[in-house]
């Protein structure tokens, strides 16, 4: 081992100088106090040295305690054991000194070991303290982080330009973001526990609950377009999307939802629909006009020839002299042209009579339900609600579904249009029923302007219309379709509105 002077001196200071100093200090203190006190007590007085040893062992450790034992033994032997001021011990005091030394050693041992365990405890406590402090600091830091993250998240939900909510499994509101609060005009506190969906338009609520219930069965997400009431009482269209959060047992713990404002899109869509509708009507009118021109030309050609031939025939006969030969030729052409004219007419008729019959087994109720779904937007546009009252025992009929749908569509559109200017009940009822198990009667009933007698008399005629842009073909086509199905179509003027019926035979 290389002798490092520094380490040696350190070692010396730690294990020799410091314990020795402590031992000397306490033994000297005990010695100073023992001199005056021995005059009070007759027997050699040594108890203070035990104190000195105890203190040395306590403060200086085992080494200092041992040194104090040695020092105390020397001092006691020298000063207080006869013969005094010598290191010799009188015979009768030998056992006394031995007892003293033993006691001193025991005290030093006990004291120093007590001290050691005390220090160990203290060190452990100190370490614990440090640990606790560290942990506390860590905890505080992570708490801060969590708070910050939560703040960021909240900022995000507030900053998103949509309305966000969270409800419990039953739809009671637990959280709403600022946009939603602002839109419905109730603060979060008031909203809490409220069923958010009470803000939905009653007509859309049914659809909403249907979709939600379906989503609850499979614990899946759902989506619906519905109107939501704003703070000023007016409704706007929203796309509502919601996802469930599942708990440990795969049950729904809460629903997260977002409302996306689609009012503008809806309005644009409506405008587009109106434009398309106008366009379709216009093109229908235009093609009607074109067809009329073409028919007029087709018929006018033979008519022109006929009239001219007839005039010519008359003129040949009236001539002086009468030219019978030419008159006969003219009259023969009259016969030929008449035949041709009637051929033109029957050709035009055949244009409108489609000869290919389609007959499929079709459930009228499905057809009506299908139509009601198709007309949902149209009904909204007319602010009309469509009510279905369908008899369950309507059998399937053999019919052309496309044509019958066209009849239903025509009647429903007429009904809705009849209610555009009226202010009463805005409801269109479509019902089906079976009569004497022989025929099915479908009724389309409106609460519109009703039917005047002169309208009722002519409304199934072609080219008869009460609408400024109507072609006058709608009901005429309806009648020809129903008659082609061996059915009947008729209308009743009611006290308020009108009812159009058509019947189709069960065996047709």
């Amino acid at each position: 081992m290389g002798a490092d002077p520094n380490r040696i001196s350190k070692w010396l200071a730690e294990f020799v100088a410091k314990p020795l100093g402590i031992a000397v200090f306490f033994v000297f203190l005990a010695l100073l106090w023992t001199f005056p006190l021995q005059h009070v007590i007759a027997y050699p007085f040594v108890f203070l040295f035990f104190g000195a040893i105890m203190c040395s062992a306590w403060f200086g450790g085992y080494i200092a305690g041992s040194m104090a034992v040695v020092l105390s033994s020397i001092v006691v032997t020298f000063f207080f054991v006869p013969p005094f001021y010598s290191m010799t011990i009188a015979r009768e005091f030998r056992s006394y000194v031995a007892a003293f030394v033993l006691c001193a050693m025991a005290i030093a041992a006990v004291s120093s070991s007590r001290r050691r365990s005390e220090s160990a405890v203290r060190a452990a406590r100190d370490q614990l303290e440090i640990r606790v402090q560290q942990r506390t600091a860590e905890l505080e830091r992570s708490n801060l982080e969590i708070t910050e993250r939560e703040r960021q998240l909240r900022l995000l939900t507030e900053a998103i330009p949509q309305q966000i909510w969270r409800t419990d499994a039953n739809g009671a509101v637990e959280y709403c973001n600022g946009n939603l609060v602002e839109y419905v005009g109730m603060d979060t506190h008031d909203l809490r526990g409220e069923v958010l969906f009470s803000f939905l338009h009653p007509e859309d609520a049914t659809q909403f609950y249907q979709n939600w219930d379906a989503a609850r069965i499979v614990n899946g997400k759902f989506e619906v377009q519905a109107r939501v009431r704003g703070v000023n009482g007016s409704y706007r269209w929203f796309l509502i999307r919601s996802n469930p959060q599942l708990g440990a047992n795969r049950e729904v713990a809460c629903w997260y939802g977002v409302h996306i404002d689609i009012e503008d899109q809806r309005q644009a869509q409506q405008k587009l629909l109106v434009a398309q509708d106008d366009l379709a009507r216009l093109s229908r009118t235009l093609s009607m006009a074109e067809m009329a021109a073409s028919i007029a030309h087709e018929i006018n050609q033979p008519l022109t020839a006929l009239v001219s031939d007839a005039h010519a025939c008359r003129r040949w006969l009236n001539g002086q002299p009468a030219n019978v030969e030419r008159a006969v030729a003219s009259s023969e052409r009259i016969v030929r042209e008449s035949t041709r004219a009637s051929e033109v007419v029957s050709r035009i008729r055949s244009l409108f009579n489609k000869t290919d019959h389609v007959r499929e087994s079709t459930n009228l109720n499905y057809l009506i339900q299908d139509l009601a779904r198709l007309l949902r937007d149209e009904a909204l546009r007319h602010d009309v609600s469509i009510k279905l009252r369908l008899s369950e025992n309507v059998p399937s009929l053999m019919l052309d579904p496309v044509q019958i749908r066209q009849v239903l569509l025509n009647l429903a559109m007429n009904g809705m249009e009849a209610m555009t200017t009226t202010t009463g009940i805005r409801e269109l009822e479509i019902s089906s029923e079976i009569l004497r198990s022989k025929e099915v009667v479908v009724t389309v009933r409106d609460h519109g302007i009703g039917l005047a007698e002169q309208v009722k008399a002519k409304m199934f005629d072609p080219f008869f219309s009460t609408k400024p842009q109507g072609t006058g073909m709608g009901l005429a086509i309806c009648r020809s379709i129903i008659e082609a199905h061996d059915g009947q179509i008729w209308a009743d003027a009611l006290e308020c509105g009108a009812a159009f019926h058509f019947s189709l035979g069960v065996n047709a």
Binding site: A293, N300, A305, D309, H311, S330, R336, E337
Partner: protein
């Protein structure tokens, strides 16, 4: 009916253009029953191929034709300066179409089917227009041919005379003697076959007018 061709203009014919052979035939028959000659064509192109300026008469034209329409044919004839009176027929005449046809110089617009009198009156009117135009044309041609035989000096004198100058003024402006002017003037009157000064002025007006 007095659509008689008593004057020396060529015999007038009614040209019928309709794609429907029955209509064509019937119209021919009707027009022939009034003592007129007819020719029929089934398309605008067919008529244009056969056309020469000395074909006198009028055109009875259907609007709806295969290829070039009746209105297009009318426009083309007007553009080519072939002045033949036109009667338009249609099965479905709307107001803008009638207005357009009449503006382009049609004599009459008939909506099919029409009565015999309507057609024959329109033809009579068209023939009268055609005749008047041809007479005017013949007159102009003869004046121009007479004008062609005048010497340059005679033509100068004629211009100044018809401009209203006296013999004295003419002599001064052309630097001639009065006797010479009188001589030229007499020759002009003779060559132009003018009865009077008024007659000569009328002739000069007619050929000057476009």
């Amino acid at each position: 009916m007095s659509v008689e061709t008593s004057d020396p203009t060529p015999k007038q014919t009614v040209f019928i253009v309709d794609d429907d052979p029955s209509v064509c035939e019937a119209l021919c028959d009707l027009i022939q029953s009034a003592g007129l000659t007819t020719q029929q064509y089934s398309s605008a192109e067919g008529f244009l191929d056969a056309w020469t300026p000395d074909m006198a008469g009028c055109l009875v034209l259907d609007v709806r034709l295969p290829g070039r329409s009746g209105m297009e044919l009318q426009g083309e004839l007007a553009e080519a300066g072939l002045p033949i009176p036109i009667i338009i027929m249609t099965a479905h005449g709307d107001i803008p179409m009638v207005r357009k046809a009449m503006k382009a110089g049609a004599v009459e617009f008939l909506t099919k089917p029409f009565q015999d009198e309507e057609l024959l009156q329109a033809i009579e009117q068209a023939f009268a227009m055609d005749r008047a135009r041809r007479t005017a044309k013949t007159l102009e041609d003869s004046i121009l041919s007479r004008l062609a035989i005048l010497s340059p000096r005679e033509r100068q004198v004629m211009e100044l005379v018809t401009a209203g100058m006296t013999n004295k003024e003419i002599a001064d402006s052309l630097d001639l003697r009065l006797v010479t002017v009188k001589l030229y003037r007499g020759q002009v009157m003779e060559k132009m076959k003018a009865q009077s000064l008024a007659d000569l002025v009328k002739m000069s007006e007619r050929i000057k007018a476009p």
